[in-house]
């Protein structure tokens, strides 16, 4: 065969003795080909093919190819199959998206698609799918659906067309038009040809994820197809039976498709349950073949069925059976099955129906942790232990994890540390156990104990007075070790500084011994730790006046007072002054015990969710800098500072210095704000000033943020309504913020059109991957509101901001708000955020000025009871007439002065613009200061509009 010959010509390379010899030979060959292509004599198709093929071969050997593209494109228009085929192969392997060539390639493809020759069509479709660029999508996304559903298309072409369309949809979903063809594609699930069904199922699954409504009829079709497959005898499906398993690929795909939907309605559900039971039953039958392929294919279907059962999470019986099945796999001799069983069980553990059943396997999982030879399997075991942990088994699981930590692979140590710290805190009944556990963590894996972990132990000790004495005693003992980790010195320094007095009665831990013990570590520590220790010393001055002179001597020494580090030097100077000048009373006030920390969600949990996210560290650095800047900025001498300090919070500051506050104390406004500064730096208009509490208000979604970053969008919807209300009267602001992501909005509206800029800011220093924001509108909303947008770049670099533009057209009046769903991967975990997008009907308001007479004339014309909607409600904000006026203007209507006979009342007028109609609106707001109530009346020519505007505006006062 010619191609093999050409390959052999070059192939000596593959076996060349040295790298240099190989390169030399390749270069010679490349020069030869180049001269052939450039030569005067036009090459015939055969030689062109031969040389293009050689180039391809050289490329596949790992060398760069920078010519020959044009010759390959020429081959596409050849009538000879073999030439065309090599041309297409070259292009699909070597062309990324070179715009000039793409045009030529597209032309050739267009011809082949129109050729009605199934072999040529197949080649063309493959090429589109292989390159899959946006240009290709632009050229062919409209054409391929037609080929797919045309009655006379051959089966093989249909298969290619379905997958080709899928590929284009993945790269450019906006370019693939939905339409009549979708319902016909769904019916391909009934096709005779199983290959066509397989390809179509892949396509439908992906489309259904984004357009569930459009494809919901696929559920019953998929169930009946699946049912026919699982009940068929192993020979029924002929070549689609794989090692005695009927159509495993198709089964997996159908089960996957069903996971796009909630459990179906009862009739279909019964049938589906039967299928799932059959699959579970088959797993118990003796294998029909000893081949691993048989068991793999069978189990692939089984695992997918279990995923579906977990996804539905509604049939306790099936869940428990699934769990038992996985339990068997936990001890299977195939490593692959053990791995997958551990993985699946993790998700089962979170279902209330199966949590208990999962727990029964604890011994097996612990054993896996100890004996598995493959680190990826051990990692799964750790995950599962974490997932199955609850109050009843926490002590055991934590102990096992600590055990494992001693020998764990470096790559997963930090994660285990976080997990242990979280479990120990979450399930601590006895806080002495908690303190022991954390100190053990620091001892075993000090380097992997992040700041969050030791901050947290201090927060907890300070908040719980029953454990303080024990903590002081334990850290004191731990510090006796000749070599202890710096993190232990930090914890020890902090805790003894606060509670050293609780153990000072014991002569073995007298004040001087405590001090000497800590100071013996001082010189080995880094600057931040030394700074912390200096604070501990000044606290000792207060706690133990008897060692004051010893401490003053240390502070006074040259190594402190003249320390090269500004922070240390300053502390030494100030603390020394403080200890000499201040009276005991002042000292006692300034160095009072730390007040309890406000209860908040564990910072460690947030850290684990971020998984190795280094961002917290940078946040911390920033706060630290800010703080020391404060300190340095103060020119007044220390004593004055100290006497001014009578409130407890500055005293908290003293010890907080340098080490910073617990990292998620507040959602560091400085760092997060800066991301969007450019967007909001425009002069605040009257409207933006309207929400005086906006800063505080935004804090509330933030506190809930860690919950928002959950895998369940339902949780995220909480509190979203409040947010939407905030945007009713303004167009710009922060829509959403958590520790990872900030979403800002800027929008403008004119008549029935609008444009919204959405800014996604990555607050971390790590990339977001597969970042996909999606706008979700219900069917009803879709017919009333038209939203157009382009997808954004799927990777968002750390600290970067990406912008998305949404073009909005209001077709008819509407009540719901579209939902913005954002999915991305951050450091290995999947993040899912949903917020309502504040596009409300009043945005399409145009104000109308009118005189008193006109107003009342129209008011009377709209006297039909359906046209009026009234609401009487209590004021939620102070009743300031100026703010009220600004809100009415911000709402979009004109504010009409001197219209209402009562000057305390407000009246407004405007027109709501939609594509289909313009609706005149009149409104009247009557405040009652005494009762702190309002009465709001809306009259418009359309009942639904009156209703909606009244709802929206009522929330504003």
């Amino acid at each position: 065969m010619c191609v093999a010959d050409t390959a052999r010509d070059v192939s000596g390379n593959a076996h060349c003795k040295s790298k240099e010899a190989e390169i030399k030979r390749i270069n010679k060959e490349l020069a030869n080909i180049r001269s052939k292509f450039k030569g005067d004599k036009a090459l015939d198709g055969y030689s062109k093919k031969k040389y293009v093929c050689k180039l391809l071969f050289i490329f596949l050997l790992g060398h760069d190819i920078d010519f020959g593209h044009m010759e390959a494109v020429n081959l596409l228009s050849s009538n000879r199959y073999t030439e065309k085929q090599i041309g297409y192969l070259f292009i699909s392997v070597l062309v990324n998206s070179n715009s000039e060539l793409i045009r030529l390639i597209n032309n050739a493809i267009k011809n082949d698609l129109a050729s009605r020759n199934p072999t040529f069509m197949g080649l063309a479709l493959h090429c589109i799918a292989n390159v899959g660029s946006r240009e290709m999508a632009e050229a062919f996304a409209g054409e391929i659906p037609k080929i797919l559903v045309a009655g006379d298309t051959m089966d093989s072409v249909k298969q290619s067309a379905a997958l080709c369309l899928l590929r284009l949809y993945r790269t450019s979903p906006d370019l693939v038009p939905m339409g009549d063809w979708t319902s016909r594609v769904v019916h391909l699930l009934n096709d005779q040809h199983l290959g066509v069904v397989t390809a179509a199922t892949s396509l439908i699954t992906t489309l259904a994820q984004k357009n569930p409504e459009e494809f919901k009829t696929s559920v019953s079709l998929a169930v009946s197809r699946l049912s026919r497959i699982v009940t068929s005898a192993s020979t029924d499906l002929q070549d689609y039976t794989y090692y005695f398993v009927p159509a495993p690929w198709l089964s997996v795909k159908l089960l996957r498709l069903l996971q796009c939907y909630p459990p179906p309605d009862p009739a279909v559900r019964g049938r589906l349950t039967e299928c799932l039971e059959t699959i579970l039953n088959k797993a118990q039958e003796p294998p029909k073949s000893k081949k691993v392929q048989h068991s793999n294919a069978k189990n692939a279907v089984l695992f997918e069925a279990i995923s579906l059962i977990i996804h539905h999470d509604s049939e306790p019986n099936l869940l428990v059976r699934a769990c038992n099945q996985l339990g068997q796999f936990l001890q299977h001799r195939e490593t692959n099955l053990r791995y997958l069983a551990l993985e699946s069980m993790c998700t089962l553990a979170s279902s209330e129906f199966s949590h208990e059943a999962v727990k029964t396997h604890i011994e097996t999982v612990i054993n896996a942790l100890k004996t598995e030879r493959d680190v990826s399997v051990r990692q799964r075991a750790v995950d599962l232990l974490y997932a199955m942990c609850d109050r009843s088994n926490a002590q055991q699981i934590v102990a096992e994890m600590l055990n494992y930590l001693e020998t764990a692979d470096y790559s997963i140590r930090e994660e285990i540390v976080l997990k242990v710290a979280i479990l120990a805190e979450k399930y601590a009944v006895d806080y002495t156990w908690y303190v022991d556990t954390i100190l053990n963590l620091i001892r075993i894996a000090g380097d992997y104990v992040s700041e969050e972990v030791w901050y947290r132990v201090i927060q907890i000790v300070i908040n719980r007075d029953d454990v303080q004495g024990y903590a002081a005693k334990t850290v004191f003992e731990a510090l006796q070790a000749p070599a202890c980790h710096e993190n232990l010195v930090k914890v020890g320094g902090y805790i003894l500084g606060e509670f050293g007095n609780l153990i000072a009665g014991d002569p073995r831990s007298s004040p001087l011994i405590q001090f000497n013990l800590l100071h013996s570590k001082f010189h080995l520590c880094s600057v931040p730790t030394r700074a912390l220790l200096l604070s501990t010393y000044i606290k000792f001055v207060n706690l133990f006046p008897e060692i004051k002179t010893t401490i003053q001597d240390v502070l006074r020494s040259d190594s402190q007072l003249k320390n090269a580090d500004v922070e240390l030097q300053q502390r030494a100077v100030e603390y020394l002054r403080l200890s000499t000048i201040a009276s005991t009373d002042i000292l006692a006030t300034v160095l009072e015990e730390m007040p309890p920390f406000p209860e908040r969600e564990s910072s460690i949990l947030a850290k684990l969710k971020k998984k190795k996210g280094p961002s917290t560290v940078t946040d911390l650095e920033e706060t630290k800098k800010e703080r020391s800047a404060d300190m340095n900025g103060g020119t007044e001498p220390a004593p004055v500072n100290a006497s001014a300090v009578s409130t407890p919070s500055p005293s908290a500051d003293l010890l907080g210095l340098g080490t910073g506050p617990p990292p998620n104390a507040a959602p560091a406004p400085a760092s997060s704000g800066s991301l969007l500064v450019d967007v909001f730096s425009e002069p605040a208009s009257a409207v933006t000033q309207l929400a005086p509490g906006s800063q505080e208000n935004f804090a509330s979604p933030d506190l809930a943020s860690s919950e928002l970053v959950s895998e369940e969008p339902s949780e995220a919807a909480r509190g979203a309504d409040e947010l939407t209300h905030k945007f009713v009267c303004k167009n710009n602001g922060v829509l959403f913020e958590n520790q990872l992501l900030q979403i800002g909005l800027k929008s403008e509206f004119r008549q029935n059109l609008g444009r919204m800029f959405i800014f996604y800011g990555n607050k971390t220093s790590t990339q977001f991957l597969t970042f996909t924001p999606t706008l979700i509108c219900s069917d009803e909303l879709q017919s009333n509101l038209n939203l157009q947008t382009k997808p954004v770049d799927p990777t968002v670099d750390g600290g970067a901001q990406v912008q998305q533009v949404v073009n909005i057209e209001c077709i008819s009046d509407f009540t719901e708000a579209p939902v913005l769903n954002i999915q991305f991967r951050y450091g290995g975990t999947f993040q899912n955020v949903s917020v309502k997008l504040p596009i409300t009907l009043n945005k399409f308001f145009q104000p109308t000025e009118m005189a008193s007479q006109d107003f009342f004339q129209r008011w009377k014309q709209l006297s039909n009871p359906q046209q009026e909607v009234q609401n009487i409600f209590k004021a939620k904000h102070p009743m300031d007439p100026e703010i009220t006026k600004a809100k009415i203007i911000g709402f979009g209507s004109a504010l009409l002065e001197e219209v209402d006979p009562n000057p305390a009342n407000f009246v407004g007028a405007g027109i709501i613009h939609t594509r289909t109609a313009q609706i005149g609106c009149l409104l009247r707001l009557e405040p009652n200061l005494q009762a702190q109530m309002y009465r709001l009346t809306l009259r418009t020519s359309k009942e639904t509009v009156s209703q909606r505007l009244c709802e929206l505006l009522s929330e504003q006062f």
Binding site: V3, A4, A7, R8, S11, A14, L56, L60, G62, R80, Y81, T82, E83, Q85, I86, L89, N96, S97, T119, G122, L125, H126, A129, N130, G132, S133, S156, Q159, S160, L163, L166, R167, R170, L194, G195, T198, A199, Q238, D239, Y240, A247, P248, W249, L250, V252, R256, Q293, N296, A297, A300, V301, F303, E304, T335, N336, L340, R373, S376, T770, G828
Partner: protein, 150 residues
């Protein structure tokens, strides 16, 4: 599926198929990194691993590693069998396939893969259908050759 790689025990890449757009540089980096990870694994270890934000499924046949990168929700076991089916197709076509077949007839290996997978999804799982398509193409090729000779 995001991509499929075939490489030898010596770390020579024999076939690469990408189902996502990416720069050459990035591709090379990924190939290098992934080969290192996979080649370092011992036999009997599990065939799946988490790598970057992907799941990798691999299997070794004689001197060749077949390695697929799939997404989070994809099914690992069926991917493993996908690899096996591809090997079977190669085997059937070449008649007990070896690494050299894939080196010298790389274009055939690509054509077979294309008939089997498209855009990263299974096009047809039937061995017969795939091989029939390839044989037809071969016939066309023979025709072309004859005409060429004439």
């Amino acid at each position: 599926m995001r991509f499929m790689l075939l490489f030898s025990r010596q770390g020579k890449l024999r076939l690469q198929k990408w189902y996502l757009a990416m720069s050459d540089k990035e591709r090379k980096k990924m190939v290098r990194e992934l080969m290192q990870v996979v080649l370092a694994r011992k036999p009997k270890m599990c065939s799946f691993l988490e790598w970057r934000d992907l799941k990798v499924v691999y299997k070794r046949y004689a001197s060749l590693y077949f390695c697929c990168a799939i997404e989070g929700q994809d099914n690992e076991l069926i991917t493993l069998e996908l690899i096996h089916r591809y090997v079977e197709l190669l085997d059937k076509y070449f008649g007990s396939v070896c690494e050299l077949d894939i080196i010298f007839n790389f274009e055939k290996a690509y054509f077979i893969l294309d008939e089997f997978l498209m855009g990263g999804d299974v096009q047809d799982t039937s061995k017969k259908s795939v091989l029939k398509a390839i044989e037809q193409a071969d016939l066309l090729q023979e025709d072309g050759k004859e005409r060429n000779v004439q």
